[in-house]
């Protein structure tokens, strides 16, 4: 790992300033992706700005929303009785990220800022139609994800919290890589009075995406059989040593059906 300066600001404005005055500075949330990246020398920041003393942890639940502070760990989301009651699929998703120790450190804000194409949380944000709140604005999920490892965040912009609308029903199903625990295909299905949203992670070259054909069919009829005849084109899906694009296309259908059944 290359060496770097380390700062742990205690005010959001100071953290934003530390990141904006130095374009080689990087934010550190839970570090469960970022520290391994640093070890591999894939990133060489001049300065690492630790966001852990900004008071960005915590969970607030209202009858219609769940708001999670950016520095809230996966473990705290998974174990939150309030989240389990309001959006059990979200708590379940958090409980399947990494392993016990990774969940003690990894954060929702870090995951969403990184936007790994195989991460779980992006599918929840997109399927639930949530919003990302930052130090300067609120960004709708549909505008937030802009391709693999790419988001609408500006340089130095820090996520402060994430808000999810409470759906009527929802479920997350993950076909995970048994070694890395990342999603080879993960499907988050959410049913609202206004319709059904389906988001797929782990599968596509461009990262998380909404499955329009499934959404249309399920909005008309929220049953496993509703998507029986719909196939997913493999054109833009990932092929790697773990799974071919055609296999991932197949898994999208299988995992979506499981999610509908579980919702």
């Amino acid at each position: 790992m290359y060496d770097f300066a380390y700062e742990k600001p205690t005010a959001l404005a100071a953290a934003v300033s530390a990141l904006t005055t130095d374009d080689e500075a990087k934010a550190l949330a839970g570090g469960q992706t970022f520290i391994p990246v640093l070890k591999q020398r894939l990133n060489k920041p001049t300065k690492v700005v630790d966001l852990s003393s900004l008071g960005l942890s915590g969970i607030t639940v209202t009858p219609s929303t769940v708001t999670i502070g950016a520095m809230t760990t996966h473990g705290d989301v998974a174990n939150s009785v309030d989240v389990q009651k309001a959006i059990p699929a979200l708590a379940n998703l958090a409980s399947m990220i990494g392993d016990w120790q990774v969940r003690h450190r990894g954060t929702i804000g870090g995951s969403l800022a990184n936007n790994d194409p195989s991460a779980c949380y992006p599918s929840a944000l997109l399927a639930l139609g949530g919003t990302v709140t930052t130090d300067r604005r609120t960004i709708a999920a549909d505008d937030y994800f802009q391709g693999m490892f790419t988001t609408a965040l500006e340089p130095g912009e820090i996520i402060t919290s994430v808000t999810f609308p409470v759906p009527e029903r929802a479920a997350y199903q993950k076909f995970r890589n048994p070694a890395s625990r990342y999603a080879m295909v993960g499907v988050f299905v959410a049913k609202f009075a206004s319709g059904v949203r389906v988001a797929i992670t782990g599968a596509a070259q461009g990262g998380v995406f909404r499955h329009a054909a499934f959404e249309a069919a399920l909005s008309a009829n929220f049953l496993v059989d509703a998507i029986a005849g719909i196939t997913t084109p493999a054109d833009d899906l990932n092929s790697d040593i773990h799974a071919s694009a055609a296999y991932r296309a197949h898994l999208i259908g299988v995992m979506t059906k499981r999610a509908i059944a579980a919702a």
């Binding site: 770097f4 742990k8 570090g31 520290i35 640093l38 070890k39 690492v48 016990w100 120790q101 450190r105």
Partner: protein, 164 residues
């Protein structure tokens, strides 16, 4: 050079570190606590698990500076001063839950967190899933799972209720 002040196994240390110094490097190289191991160095294997403010974390994926002000417990901090083993260490010994022993410090630290965070009880399945962040290449896990189950009633001071 920045410095970090932290409590390790009840003793407070102030140590000069680099920004890039990992918690496990601080423990092993600066404090000489080599019971915490580095296995994979990629946060997969769990040989480096320690308790940071009471919860198990992978010390190879934590910066030393992130532990400033924190309380850390390592495998060296478990046994009593007179050498009496922690109930989890004793259970590992009784159940032959190790062969080469490389993964054991991390396994024990994870297992203690697992038991303490499940006061309502632990099924065999809970234990196997709870230890998913710790890899052992010798035992096939079976005796480790037995050891964790055996330690639960000792650590909680009551019998484990029958599984669902």
């Amino acid at each position: 050079m920045p410095s970090v002040t932290l409590t390790v196994n009840g003793k407070t240390h102030t140590v000069e570190v680099e920004g890039r110094t990992l918690l496990v490097e601080l423990l092993r190289e600066k404090l000489g606590l080599t019971g915490t191991h580095v296995g994979c160095d990629t946060s997969q294997c769990g040989a480096c698990v320690v308790h940071l403010n009471g919860t198990s974390v992978k010390s190879c994926t934590t910066l030393a500076l992130q532990a400033d002000g924190a309380s850390v417990v390592t495998i060296e901090g478990l046994a009593a001063a007179d050498g009496t083993l922690h109930p989890m260490q004793e259970a590992f010994r009784e159940n032959h839950a190790l062969q080469c022993g490389f993964c054991t410090p991390g396994m024990v630290m994870s297992a203690i967190d697992l038991v303490m965070s499940h006061p309502q009880g632990l099924s065999e399945s809970d234990i196997r899933h709870g230890l998913e962040g710790n890899l052992c290449r010798c035992t096939g896990y079976h005796n480790i799972v037995k050891a964790v189950a055996a330690a639960w009633p000792v650590m909680h001071g009551r019998e484990l209720a029958p599984a669902e």
